[in-house]
Amino acid sequence: MRLKRWISLTWTIINANYGLSNLKTSLKKDKKNILILALMIYAFGAIGFSFVFFYKPLLISSYQQLATLGMEKLFLANAFLNAGIIGFIVGLFLLISTLFFSKDMRVLITLPIRASEVITAKLTVVILFQMIVSLAILLPSLVYYGIQKNAGVSYWLYSMLLFLLSQIFPMLLQTIIILPLSRIVKFSRMKDFMLYILGIGALAMSLIVVFLVNKSAINGGNNGFNLVNIFANPDVFINKLASIYPPAFFAVKTLLSNTFSGLAWLAGYLGLHAIAFVTTIWFAKKYYYDTYNSLQQFYAGRRKLSTEEMSGQLNVEKSLFATLHAREWKYFLKVPAFAFNGLSGTFILPIMVIMFPFIFKGNQEASGNIENFFQAIKDLYVPIGILGGVLAGSMSGLAASAFSREGKLLQELKALPVSPGDVLKAKFVNIMEISFMGILLMTAAIHLLLGGSLLLDIIVVLLSGVVSAFLNLLQLVIDATRPLLNWDNPQRAIKQNFNVAIAIFIVIGFVGGFGYLSFKLVDVVSPFAIAMVLALCGIVGIISLIKPALRMTSDLLKRDL
């Protein structure tokens, strides 16, 4: 009976969170919504395409490089480590919003259901999402390694178990960080602040882990364990994993040992995860309901304003554009899920580029090779700068969710005396301002790496802006065509939005395509010409998209939603 109730509860929460019934009804009700299916097929096709043509060769070359050095064991270690780190980052915000900001708790808290049942159901929602990471990163590596090594039955059985449990440990880390912290900063007025702090903290922690792991892998850190040692014995790195990320250590040991000692390591892995799971539930039971309840107790100032104070607040007249533009910024910054995802999506890439040389610092050989590589591509400074700037300026998902992020508030815009042009202009300018922040940081990062002149940097910033404007406008058109408006959890509008997924493919496809062409044509076409072609693409794209963008915005503001 209790199991049945738990299954029903879990399914209901999954259904509500991912909007499954909603999608089904929408597809049934309006045949025009078949476009959603077409987009889904396109996205899956694009995923399949990028897997076959980009990810698979990368996987094979990564394995072969390690195999040449006799270090193919590290192939598995990397897969477990990366799946863990990325799963942690990806699931963090979903966990916060599923636990604290999902409106279903208003209903659930009134029902006669145990706290542990609600918590496990909610954690299932998060783990399902995180499993996409394991599916993309871990599973292909496990399969490829198994095929290459002609692995036996035990390898495949153990792999299946390791795969299924691979996201429990990252979830434990998230829960341990979030729940006690949320209890400390539990005042409702600080709810948004809490999200920012948690988000920034988690992102910083992930970057530090990535940095340390790579640094350890590349030049062994500061404790005498260096690249030569890893070459001599890859187990040095695998043993090091025990302190960096224990589940990866147990998993790799399970798969690399013979059937019986593998079973012992698997028992260790299962034990670790059993402890992790029990601790997670314990933490959640101890902190979740109390914290949730206190988050519902609004603390408000309730202060009356004097006439002078009110005049000060109200007597700032703004133009219509300035008003709508300010609305965009306020809504963006005051919804942590939007601000954090948008800003991290904009800044993460430039930050990683800046981190790059520091990872190799201290390893003269690697640094020397990298320096030579940089010298070789220095002539392509402007095209590389533009493509880097475009990645930072257009891949945050902000443009592709500009209308989706409105949610129910789009009804407010529809009722106000504002034209579609005003709405589009305010959204576009807001997005471009954020894009330029990413472009500037990326240009600074590339300047640090390749050392261009100020004039070249200015050209890079301007042309990146032009190309980004084109790609952002394209994303606005996509989102205006079919925005995701029916969400309770703001995370869905940006992270679980199909338009954002499509936009990422478009931007990566554009940058990858131009990057590939530039690389192939570098001997026959000057970098200046490549930069000009890029800029021309941007300008033609902008001009040809202005009218469709206005039309789609106008249609959206008239449409029955």
Binding site: K29, D30, K32, S188, R189, D192, F298, Y299, A300, G301, R302, R303, K304, L305, T307, M310, S311, Q313, L314, N315, V316, E317, K318, L320, A322, T323, L324, A326, R327, K330, Y331, K334, V335, K408, L409, Q411, E412, K414, A415, L416, P417, V418, S419, K558, R559, D560
Partner: protein, 252 residues
């Protein structure tokens, strides 16, 4: 001031929510729009306010065609939706400022008007707090204040009384009367028959997307016989409530 000519709305899937509605609400009039749930009240109101477009027919506000010049037509309307449409992350005062900026209310009028409205609706003490700390009634009051802040000629209120405390409801009813007496128009939907009977100059009853009756309560009485407006409403909408048996609720 509000003119509907043969307005029809067919939703995707073929559902006809409004079926050939024709109606004129004049200056100085309070018009009550009644109908059971799902009859088409909110759809009609959304077409009047330009939130959705009619499939057929035209909507005019103060002589301006909503489809042809929506920005100008909307500038005459103060709209309160059935569910408060407010940006919950903003403070109350920030939201009011946003609305007044959109409607370009001159700064010399802002403080005076908002101060009075806040006093009248007893919301002065909460105006510096984020809207997500408000109760449903407070959000409803804020929506009302925002809609009235730019002194629109036409008030369109979708169930404005829901969530209001008795004092605020009374104040709103008086404001509606004053607004109409000053030569403006008030169009509102309600399920509270008593309010409709007391303050409306005319009422319209909509059932399954069709206007079944438009006129004064007295005219309705002449047509359907004496009785309370509630009884007349149930007759017009062909409700079968008298025949219903609820004993199953207490049976095991």
């Amino acid at each position: 001031m509000i003119t509907l000519k043969n307005v029809t709305k067919i939703y995707t899937g073929g559902i006809k929510a409004a079926d050939g509605l024709s109606l004129e609400v004049k200056e100085g009039e309070i018009f009550g729009f009644l109908g059971p749930n799902g009859a088409g009240k909110s759809t009609t109101i959304k077409m009047i306010t330009g939130v959705i477009e009619p499939t057929e027919g035209t909507v005019e506000i103060c002589g301006i065609n909503m489809a042809k010049d929506p920005v100008k037509a909307k500038s005459f309307i103060g709209y309160v939706a059935d569910e408060p449409l407010v940006m919950e992350k903003l403070k109350g005062i920030e939201y009011l400022n946003f609305i007044m900026n959109v409607f370009q209310v001159p700064k010399e009028l802002r403080t005076q008007r908002i101060e009075r409205l806040l006093e009248d609706f007893k919301l002065s003490h909460a105006i510096m707090d984020p809207i997500n700390t408000y109760s449903h009634g407070m959000k409803q009051k804020l929506s009302l204040i925002a809609a009235l802040s730019h002194n629109p000629k036409v008030w369109v209120l979708d169930e404005p009384i829901v969530g209001l405390d008795p004092e605020s409801a009374f104040i709103l009813k008086k404001m509606m009367r004053n607004h109409a007496n000053s030569g403006n128009t008030v169009f509102f939907s309600t399920h509270v028959m008593e309010i409709a009977e007391k303050i409306c100059d005319r009422i319209g009853i909509i059932q399954k997307g069709k206007l079944e009756f438009v006129g004064t309560v007295e005219e309705l009485r002449k047509l359907k016989g004496s009785g309370t407006l509630e009884e007349l409403f149930l007759e017009v909408t062909k409700s079968e409530i008298e025949k219903m048996d609820f004993s199953y609720l207490d049976n095991n």
